[in-house]
Amino acid sequence: MNRTGSFFASLLHPIVAIVVGFLAGAIAIAASGAPVLETYGEMWKGAFGSFYFFTSTLARATPIILIGLGICLAFRAGFFNMGAEGQMVLGAIAAALTALYLPGPGIVKLLGALLAGIAAGGIWSVLAAWMEVKFKIDLLISTLLMNYIATLFAGYLVTEPFKDNTGSAAMAQSMMIDKSAWLPKLFHGMTLHAGFLIAIILVIVLAFLFRRTIFGYEVNMLGQNPFFAAYGGVNRGKVMLLSMFASGALTGLAGTVEVLGAQYRYIDGALTVPSYAWTGLMATLLANSNPVGTALASILLAALQTGAMGMERNTEVPLEVSGVIQAVLILFVSAKFSYAFLKRRKERKTDGASV
């Protein structure tokens, strides 16, 4: 097959998958007794139907993009970082507390909080990397476990020492950050905040980093074959720790911008309940660790969520069904559908798989 052919083939894959996914979703909708097209229409409206909904989708995508980028960086370097949740939460709590207790004008608080969030996520992540490099402790397990530790620790902080006693005091949450330290909203009356711009800038930075810089090249090679990288003079330990720090820093930043741009305080569970970390992980994997692809996949996944909310608001389809439809769509997007169709006994099999 020639190059243009394989280009179309690679395009066909997600398209076929999405079509099949929507068909499966249609069955779920029909089973719940709702009109399929109308329901999908509401879903579309909920995600992109108006400027407000469109920006809401982007707002929801913001932490997912940042987490996706963080995980993508770790993957590229050959680390299976499953600790995005813990890193995000620690970033969020660090940012919230810094913004609350750092003296000085708003801008100082804001910058301090951003730095604190980045540092907290990065350090937590680098701790896992360090344990792997130094003690050969599998990063996959340690990061998974460290998620629980981080969320419980953050939960403790806002239940005991830094609890918000100003309002009803019924929630495990920090006090509200002073308005001067908020990340500005991009449009009046909409939830989209400057964190989205940060995320988009970082998408570009990362794409550029991987393509054009020494560091990006070293990260890639380290991930592809650490022995080769070491042989070629890549400072393995340093690039490892640096990339894991950056990975955690990005996920920490995800939590940070949620705090500074959306919630204005740390609320226990507000970042874990929406499964941002898992969604970000999926986005990265769907995009094969490509930064721009990760951003697009994040927006797609966020749109599925906001779309489902719209579907629930405006149709009789219950929330449970929209959950099912979401999951089904993701499953089929993930499947290499067209790939299987096209391949069919043909010779396009790649080396490893055909053997």
């Binding site: 239940t159 009803s168 019924a170 929630m171 939830t191 919630q263 609320i267 507000a270 629930e312 608001r313």
Partner: protein, 318 residues
């Protein structure tokens, strides 16, 4: 204070639309379920369109609130502390739109607040437990160690100590709202440590506590609605919270034009919270473990609270 509710012209043209925006999925939470039922029932009784919207997570609350404002619902009811921040923003930006928030206060002119003093009812359950225990040990299984649930656990402990200063109160946390298996094990453990009455305050975990009671033969109590019917032999009390009535009334007043802003505080006195047998009758016969005597004593305590002679600490205002 409010006049947007009295619009006789509008009544003719179109049915009123009322939205209930819940901060979470209804899921295992009877509290949200009651609210949903209360609003739906009122919708039917008074001929208004009601729509319940469950939010999947914190970030969704604000979006849902904004969406229902945009879709021009006449009254928007929401609930709980999780919605506080979002409601503050949305209500400030839409000063002409009436809102109600149940279970917490948002200090804005267009928001009606409804709050409950659950600790008072918990105190009564504790008082009964303190009186009834034969082993001088009672327990409570709490879903999570979060401030809000202190209303249940602290009130309960206070009640126990009030009637039985020597009694030991065991407190364990499940760490989740949705883990009946662990809640059950915790109850079994408390029982093995001598507790003969264990209060369930672990959301759906309570069902696990009930099972443990049935298996091991101790006594227990449930939350929010009357649970005694499930297993009268072991579930001997229930702590009640009239969310459904509050939700129902809110809709009713809105339709009838008597709706007012302000803060409505429901405790024992207002009959917004209560305990079976003490403040409300139930079809289930009273278990001998509690007995008439104790109920009478607890009723007396209730009267003291109502009259203000006895105060129950609000653990959130310490």
């Amino acid at each position: 204070a409010d006049n947007s509710s009295a619009q006789p012209a509008g009544e003719q043209k179109a049915k009123k639309k009322i939205a209930l925006v819940l901060p979470e999925k209804i899921g295992v939470n009877p509290f949200f379920q009651q609210m949903d039922e209360g609003v739906k029932k009122a919708g039917k009784d008074f001929g208004v369109d009601v729509k319940t919207i469950e939010s999947t997570d914190q970030a969704a609350i604000e979006q849902n609130l904004r969406a229902v404002v945009a879709e021009n619902y006449d009254l928007i009811i929401t609930s709980s502390f999780e919605s506080e921040d979002a409601l503050k923003k949305v209500a400030t930006e839409n000063p002409d739109k009436p809102f109600t928030i149940i279970d917490t206060t948002v200090d804005l002119p267009n928001v009606r607040n409804v709050v409950f003093r659950e600790q008072e009812a918990a105190y009564l359950v504790g008082a009964a437990a303190g009186l009834a225990t034969k082993t001088n040990t009672v327990g409570i299984v709490v879903a999570m160690d979060i401030p809000n649930l202190k209303k249940w656990s602290v009130g309960y402990e206070e009640g126990v100590k009030a009637t039985n200063p020597n009694a030991k109160v065991l407190v364990n946390y499940v760490g989740s709202f949705t883990d009946p298996a662990k809640a059950k094990e915790l109850a079994i453990l408390q029982h093995s440590q001598g507790a003969d009455f264990i209060n369930g305050a672990s959301a759906v975990g309570d069902l696990g506590v009930f099972e443990a009671a049935k298996e091991k033969g101790f006594y227990t109590s449930g939350q929010d609605v009357d649970r005694t019917a499930i297993d009268p032999e072991h579930i001997v009390l229930s702590q009640l919270k009239g969310t459904d009535a509050v939700a129902y009334d809110t809709v009713k007043q809105f339709v009838e034009g008597t709706y007012k802003q302000g803060t409505y505080d429901y405790g024992l006195k207002e009959d917004g919270v209560g305990v079976t047998y003490v403040t409300r009758e139930t079809k289930t016969p009273l278990n001998a473990f509690i007995g008439e005597d104790i109920i009478n004593k607890v009723k007396a305590i209730k009267d003291e609270i109502v009259s203000g002679k006895r105060t129950v600490t609000n653990p959130l205002k310490q």
